[in-house]
Amino acid sequence: MSDITVTAASDIEVDREALDASINEFAEKNGDYYSEAFHKIHESTSMLPQTFNVAAALLGPIWAAMRGVWGMFWAFLILEMIAWVQIGRGAWGNPGASFTERAEGQEQRAQGFLEKAETARQAGEDPARFEKLADNMTRAAEKSRATAEAAGAEAFSIMLMGLGLLIVFKLIQGLYANGAYEKQYSRWRIDPARTESGVKQRNMVLGIVLVLLIAPLTIYKFTVASPFEILNAFPEKAVSSAFLSDPNETLYTTLSKWMETRIDNAAVAGAGAFDSIVFGVRSVLDALTVALIGTPWPVVIAVICVVAWRAAGPRVAIFTAAALAYIALLGYWEVSMETVALVGAAVILCVVMGIPLGIWFGKSERAYRIAEPVLDLMQTLPAFVYLIPIIAFFGTGNPPGILATIIFGMPPVIRLTALGMKGVPESIKEAAVAFGASRWQLLRDVEIPLALPSIMTGVNQTILMCLSMVVIISLIGGGGLGKEILEALQYAAKGPGLLGGFAILFCAMIMDRVAQGAFRREDQK
C-alpha cells in the first residue's frame, strides 16, 4: 500500500498552478486576466458579481461571439438593439410626424369648410353649419399640433432613455460576462470537445456579420418615419409573379386551388370507403343513442347513479344524482344524452383502436418513432383545420363529428399505453419467457396487467379530450349540447349559453369522476 498523507480540510491549500494552466488553455487570449477573474469568482461566497469585464462592456455582443458565449450574444444583441432603437428614434426619428400630418389634413379640411361657408353666404344660405364644422376642425387641428409638439419634445427624453438603457445593458454585460464565461469554463472541463473555448476568428466574424445583418436594418426600420417599402412587408406578389405566368395568380391561390381539386377528387374516388367508415361509426352511435334515449329516463338515471355508486362510491353518486337532476329539470335531458352518446361512441372507438396501436408502439421502437410526429400533429393541429377535409370526405352530421373527436382524443390513450408497455420491467418479462410463455401469453399475463394503470390514465385523458370537442363538432352539424351552445353564441344569448355550458360541465364531471373512481379501485386491487 502506498503512503497517503491525510490533511485536514481546513489546511488544504488551493493549487492555483494547475487551475491557472487549465484556465489559460481555455481562454487562450488574456489567460492571465481570466484566471485572475475566475479566482475571484471561485473565492467569492456571495451571489453578487465580483469582477467587471471592460472588453465585454465595450464590445457587447461581439465579445460574447468572440468568446463563443452564444446565449449571452443573442440575449444582449436583442437588448442592445432595443436601446439603440430608442436612441435612433430620439435622435433621427420624428415622433410627432404622424400628428403633424394629421394636423395639416385637418387644417385643410377646415379651410374647405370655410370656403363652403363662404359660397353658402354668397348663395344667401345660412353659413352657420359650415362655420361650426370649420371651427371644430380647426380646434382638432390645434390639438394635433400640440400633440405633435409634445411628441417632438419627447424625442429628447426618448433618446435619453435609450442612452440610459444602453449604459445599463453595458454595465450588466461587464458585470456578468466573467460569471457567464466561468460557467462556460466549467462546462468545457466536462466536455472540452463540444464546448467553445478560446478566441476563434470564425466566431468573431460570425458575430460581426450577424450584428451587421440584424442591427442596422432593424434600427433603420424603427427610426425612420417612412422606410423603404420592401422592409414593411414581404414582397409576396413580386415573388409570385417571378414564378407564375398568370399575373392574377399568386403562389397562395395556385396552391390552394390545386389542393382543393385534389381533395375533391379523393373524396369522389374514395366515396365507397368513406361511406362505410361513416356507416361503421353511425352504428356504434345508434346503439348508444338507443340505449340512452330509447330507454325510459328513470331507468337511465337509476343505472347511471348505481354505476357511479359502485364505481366511485356514495359521494360521487350523490353528485351524479344532483347533476342529472339539473340536466333533466332544465330540459336538457335528451340533448345531454345525445352528447353522452356522441362522446361515448368516440371514446369506444378511440380505445378499441388506440390500445392495440399503443401496444404495438410500445413494443416497436421504430413504429413509435414514425408515429410520434403523427400523434403530435393530431393533438396540435387546430380542430378547425381538419374539420374542413372531414366535411369534404364524410359530409356533415354526428358521425363526421365523432371522427373529428377521434382525431383529437386518440393520442393520449395511444401514448400512455405505449408508455405503460415500455415501463414493464424487463426482469418480469424475462421470467415469464424463461418459464416458457409464448408472445401472446407474455402480453396477456404480464405486459397488459402491468401496463394497466397507465392505460387507464390514457383512457381517462381520452374521455376528457373527447368531451372538449362537443362544441367544436357542432360546427359541422354535430348535435347535442354543443349545438345549444353554438346557437346561444350566434345570438349572443347569455342565459341559454351559460345554462348549456353548465350542462356540459356536469356531463364531463360525471364521466370523469366515475371513470377515475373505477380506475382507482382497479389500481388498488
Binding site: S427, A434, F435, G436, D445, V446
Partner: protein, 348 residues
Amino acid sequence: MSDVASEVVVKLSNVWKIFGDRADEAMAAVKAKGLTKPEVLEEFACVVGVQDATFEVARGEIFCIMGLSGSGKSTLVRHVNRLIEPTSGAIEILGRDVGSMSTTALRQVRAQQIGMVFQHMALMPHRSVRDNVAYPLEIRGIPKSKRWAVSDHALDLVDLVGYEDRLPKELSGGMQQRVGIARALASDPEILLMDEPFSALDPLIRMQLQDQFKALVAQLQKTTLFITHDLDEAIRIGHRIAIMKDGVIVQIGTPEQIVMNPADDYVREFVQGISKLKLVKAHSIMEPLESFSGDLNGAPRADEGADLDQLIDLSVGTDVPVVITDKGVDVGVVSKPVLLRGIQGGKE
C-alpha cells in the same frame, strides 16, 4: 439408471457469445486468427460475453458459476434455456440439442425441464403468491385445481404455508425469493438455473436460504446451475465451482481443489480471504506416519475426510498429533504446526 451420479444433464461445448452488430464476422475472425477480447472490440466493435465455455453438469449436482459483475456468468447461464442465442457452440440438455429446437419445443423444455430463479425475484405484482408459483403450470395449460395443489405443495417445500393468497409486495425480500424458488420448483424441472438468487438479501437471511436451498436440492435431486459473485456462497453451496473472469472460465473444480490449488493469481486472490476450516480435509494436509517418531497410542483419531474444524477440536485437548485413519487403518498424522499452517492456507 445404475450410475445416477455420472449422468450428464447439462452439457456446454465450446460456447461463444459475442455481442454486437458484426458478431458473426467477429466470430469467424476469432476462429481463424484467434483474436483476443480487446482486439475483437477494436476491430469489430463487438464485446465478447462468453469465451469458449465448455463444461458438463451431472444429475443432482450443484454447479456454481462464480465471477464478478460483468464476467459473463449471467450471460452464460442464459444460454442453457436459450434466452440468449450462442454465437457459436452447442448446448445439450438431457442429450437434446437446445440450439436446434423449434420454438414450440423450446417453450416446452423451458416450461417442464428448467426452473429459473432471478436476482430481483421478478414476481408478478398483480398475482397472488399462489398464482405466481402456479404460472409455469398455467403456461402449460394445466387446470386450475391441479395448479393450485401443486403450487401449495411447492410453497410447502419452501416453508411458506399460509401466505398463498398474499400479494408479493406484502412479503419480505427473503420470503419473496422463496416464492421465486417455489415457482422454479413448481413444474418439477430437471434443472434449476439460479441467477444470483440471494445477492439482494441481507447476510443472515442469505445464510438461512443457502442452507435451506442446499437441503432442498439434495432432497429433490435437482441439477443446479448456481450463479454468484460471492465465493463464500459458492463454496457453501456448490459441489463444483467454475470461476469466470472476463467471459473466460478460469478454473473448474471442487471447492477444496479451488481453495488448495488456485489455477492463477486471479483465483488465488479470491481464495485468500476464505476460511479453510470447513473446506480443507485431513487427507490434504496430513503427513506420513513415519514423520512422527513418538508414541501414538492414546492419540486422538479422525477420518481422513474430517475437516480442519474437527481436527482443531481433537487437537486442543492433547499434546500428541491427531492420527488420521482411512477405513480404520492409520494412514497419517497431523501435528499442531501442520494444522495451524493448514488453517492459514498452506503457507510454507
